[in-house]
Subunit: 217 residues, 2 copies
């Protein structure tokens, strides 16, 4: 019996996790919070699920676009360029995004009778995003165990590894990274300059994995 | 400076908390998850905020109606009758509802530069709802502190008291309970028979507070 739900954005990390834990995944959920790159990410999430025969649903969180402040949901021109770990990248933070996605996923897992929720946060996220850090994941995991009848688990298999190690793992299990999208600007081609594009390039380069991405620069 | 956001349903508990902590509340948020009684509860939430001059927003969580299993969102005829603490009342549980509302509220509080989130869960909720218990509140509180830059607090002032004590507190500070709605069936008049109506009656009776509710039975 497949027993997990995965939070799937359509980026490199969660698409790798989808393939990595495929045998145990019953449902993939993509959250549409109105980000600049939502449309392209969602298309990639759907394509991977179709390929693997995994049920995929998209949950709209329109209120985040209406009420939350973040350059990630304010249009491409607001996205800063530079390295992912730089201070100016903080404007791309969507407040408590992982907290919100995990909470919805936990409720949905309990509704479906599933045992746990998979999330693909990784060690490289920790410097910028507080809701990617191990202490956050640990606390929210305990809140899910305490707050559900069926004691839904939260599992974060990549929490201790880097994006480079994720890319290496993906190459090993045959993930097609042409079917992933990362750029925060959301244009047809990856810009190659925003934090997440820079991080994407570095991960392929450092892992010695061929980068199939067609960058604008 | 007012510094808190309150999760306000429009029922007795959160309306009492709204009046109780009024001086420190900058924003009241009602979540519309498509429950049978949403329309009447929201109207009560709005009426109390207007009276107190507190900004009020309604955040639709339509996906809960579409994807979650609960008699609370399946129509009035699915609502069991009897005492709130009875086993059959479990069907009214919306999986991880407080987890979801708290996560969205925490993100919104950080977006607005507010220090904390108020929630009116109370000791009487604990028997049925896992996401009302102190160990849940404690874990989710730590997840909010760890998962936000500004270390948003979660405050649950009624976690250790009963609904009867809430009614007594409300009477003391002059809350008009005619401006609250509880019934899970969602008709114009309170049915008087569902778990939350029975609990409402008992709270007024045990607190020695006059019950202004016009029950159907």
């Amino acid at each position: 019996m497949k027993k997990y739900l995965i939070i799937l954005s359509g980026g490199m990390d969660s698409v790798t996790l989808l393939h990595d834990w495929e045998a145990d995944i019953a449902l993939a959920v993509t959250f549409d919070y109105g980000s600049n790159h939502a449309k392209r990410e969602i298309a990639m999430a759907a394509a991977n699920c179709e390929k693997l025969g995994i049920e995929h649903i998209v949950i709209p969180l329109a209120f985040m676009h209406d009420y939350f402040k973040s350059s990630l949901i304010s249009g491409a021109e607001a996205i800063p360029e530079g390295h992912y770990a730089d201070e100016n990248m903080k404007s791309t933070v969507v407040p408590f995004r992982n907290g919100i996605m995990l909470a919805v996923a936990v409720g949905l897992a309990e509704s479906r009778g599933l045992e746990g929720v998979l999330i693909a946060n990784h060690a490289g996220d920790h410097t910028i995003y507080p809701d990617c850090r191990p202490e956050f994941i640990d606390a929210v995991r305990r809140s899910a165990l305490a707050g559900t009848f069926s004691r839904v688990e939260i599992i974060s298999p990549y929490c201790g590894i880097t994006k480079t190690q994720i890319a290496a793992r993906g190459a090993e299990i045959g993930v097609d990274y042409a079917l992933t999208y990362s750029c925060y600007k959301g244009s047809e081609k990856h810009c190659g300059k925003c934090g997440t594009c820079v991080e994407r390039k570095e991960a392929f380069r450092d892992a010695g994995v061929q980068d199939p991405t067609d960058y604008e620069d």
